[in-house]
Amino acid sequence: MKATRSMVLVSADPESMDRGALDIFTELQKQIRDFGLEEEIALSMVNDISKPGFDPLVLVYPDAVIYGPIKPGDVHQIVEEHLYKGRVVEEKQISAYNFTGRIAWLSARKGTLPAENRVVLKNVGLIDPEDINDYIIHEGYQALGTVLNDLTPEETIAVIKNSGLRGRGGAGFPTGLKWQFVNSAEGDNKYVICNADESEPGTFKDRLVLEGDPHAIIEAMIIAAYAVGADEGIVYIRGEYGLAISRMNKAIDQAREIGLLGINIFDTSFNFDLHVHAGAGAYICGEETALIESIEGNRGEPRSRPPYPTTSGLWKKPTLVNNVETLANVPAIIRNSADWFKSIGTDSSPGTKVFTILGNVNVTGLIEVPMGITLREVISIYAKGMKDGKNFKLAQTGGSSGSIIPSSLQDTPMDFDSFKKAGVSLGSGALLIANDEICVVDLAKVLLNFFRNESCGKCYPCRIAVPRAYNILTNISEGVGTMKDLDVLKTMSEQLVELSHCGLGQTAGSPLKDCLTHFRAEVEAHIKLKVCPAGVCPMSGRRAY
């Protein structure tokens, strides 16, 4: 299959639809096929783009050219001149000036399609992860040398702060600020922990970094330890990641052998050592206080906060907990400067993001792209479209604790702030893409089942509401739900957010909320019509609970 080189969007707001947007879409489809371009050009309609007086609009990527108002008769010229010959049809073009919202954003991204930009995964697959020399040849441990010889801990923190790096574990907390908190916390011993308990369904980015470039994590942890004043570090890797554990152990041994770990690193007075702690299979241990409990030999139940780990963490000492992907950015930022990092991605979320693409698409896997890319771009360019030409129905972003987003939100830039504004969660970067053969009730059931199994049981809202919500969903999927059930689910989703002790319970309600917000009609069909529109749910008519 050829790679998509261009993307064409047709506005589909009510105004445009009135003025024949659908005809333009079919005409574009026909003309693109006539010119034999169907494999190179992705075509779709977008709900929330419009400019009064110029509808319907046709947008062409990556050139970010906007045409309008377009009649079916203009289509041939646009396809032949612009898409086939590569010449902009100037008389039909309108300026992006005075456009607001999404259009302004879309046109600002001129020419940004479709290259990947690898920072975190730069070495993965290229170097031998079991040979420290290969890492060193590829600029490895250079950043560490710079930090230990030329920078004070405070200057190191300033670089990270200036870069605008935000935690990649899902919450997006500014990394430099976290470092500063630990640096200024009182305590004779401090710890640095790398959170590699990657258990979010659909996420395996950290595994690939650990397996493919373990020394980058070691280097980043030494830098972090120097910056915050820690002398011991722990890499907490989930127990299922056998290869990652053995490679990390090997890398640590190699680094220790040549004096990068231990005492007087780089002939300075700085000492630091590191070991691996293997998890034992519990999703909740990705929560930083539960992770700390687990290292101390206890059940992984989250602690009450405050105090935060930055002041009282492992063994009640100030502790820095950073995600693998966050740390993997650190050596590159030191080597290339904070300004270089800020030049990638969006203003509020600089840098790249590793996304895992999964589900009913042609190509699944891992990509690293600048923050701010849209879901539509991911699906049409990197995932090479929907599998078997089926329709895109929804995406589940950020693993189970993320959001279910409908196709109408697929043009939202994927960065922390834009997603927050749209009320969805970026989470860990998993993008589960589903076609219209997926039933939202069934999907919500799977997600709630996950939370039901993974809830640690410490606090009531999560322990009681999550299984109860699962039962209600099961009844709905059997065709015996009631409309009152939907009110109960809605209340539960709100109360889980307000009353749960930790992030697990707080996000467990989001699939319920998302289903009821975006797919209420489909859920109601299960109740009122006793029909599962996708034909997935059993609908046996028997109460399960």
Binding site: G242, N298, F450
Partner: protein
């Protein structure tokens, strides 16, 4: 193959050796439990008792840790343990039908061990191999991109 300890004496000395190797600190509890689980196939009540005496941790606490973590088993398992991922990415990729077929072939539902102690079927949360879902792991062998009709053939490779 898991080693079964017949006498209490054996397990006490085995655990003593383990603690001598790893250390007495509470932080070593989970790493030690990992080793026992790998050696015995599960963590028996005898093992918990011996650990409790030697590490000076109440049995209730060790029990609560053992039952909390998914990778630590408190009940004996079959010779081959099948972990089937039931998280959303594998489900969307068609895992539902593969699990149905697997349950039919084995005559087991999740969490059960077969009468002849050959199979234990466990459904688990995400295993982190989602790029090739649906996924299952039998002992240490990973199977991806599963379809229902591959199931009998895969199972036939284990005795």
């Amino acid at each position: 193959m898991p080693v079964k300890f017949k006498q209490e004496q054996d397990i006490t000395s085995y655990i003593q050796a383990l603690i001598d190797k790893k250390g007495h600190e509470k932080a070593e509890l989970i790493p030690i439990l990992h080793e026992i689980n790998a050696e015995l196939g599960y963590i028996s009540d005898d093992a918990i008792k011996a650990l409790s005496e030697q590490m000076k941790i109440p049995t209730s606490q060790i029990y609560s840790v053992v039952t909390f973590y998914r990778m630590l088993a408190h009940e004996p398992r079959g010779r081959h343990v099948i972990q089937f991922c039931e998280s959303a990415p594998c489900h969307v990729a068609g895992g539902r039908l593969v699990l149905q077929k697997l349950q039919e072939e084995l005559g087991l539902t999740q969490g059960e061990t077969s009468q002849d102690d050959k199979w234990t079927l466990i459904t688990t949360s995400c295993l982190g191999i989602c790029g090739v879902g649906p996924v299952m792991i039998i002992d240490h062998d990973i199977y991806g991109n599963l379809t229902p009709d591959q199931v009998p053939d895969i199972l036939s490779h284990y005795d």
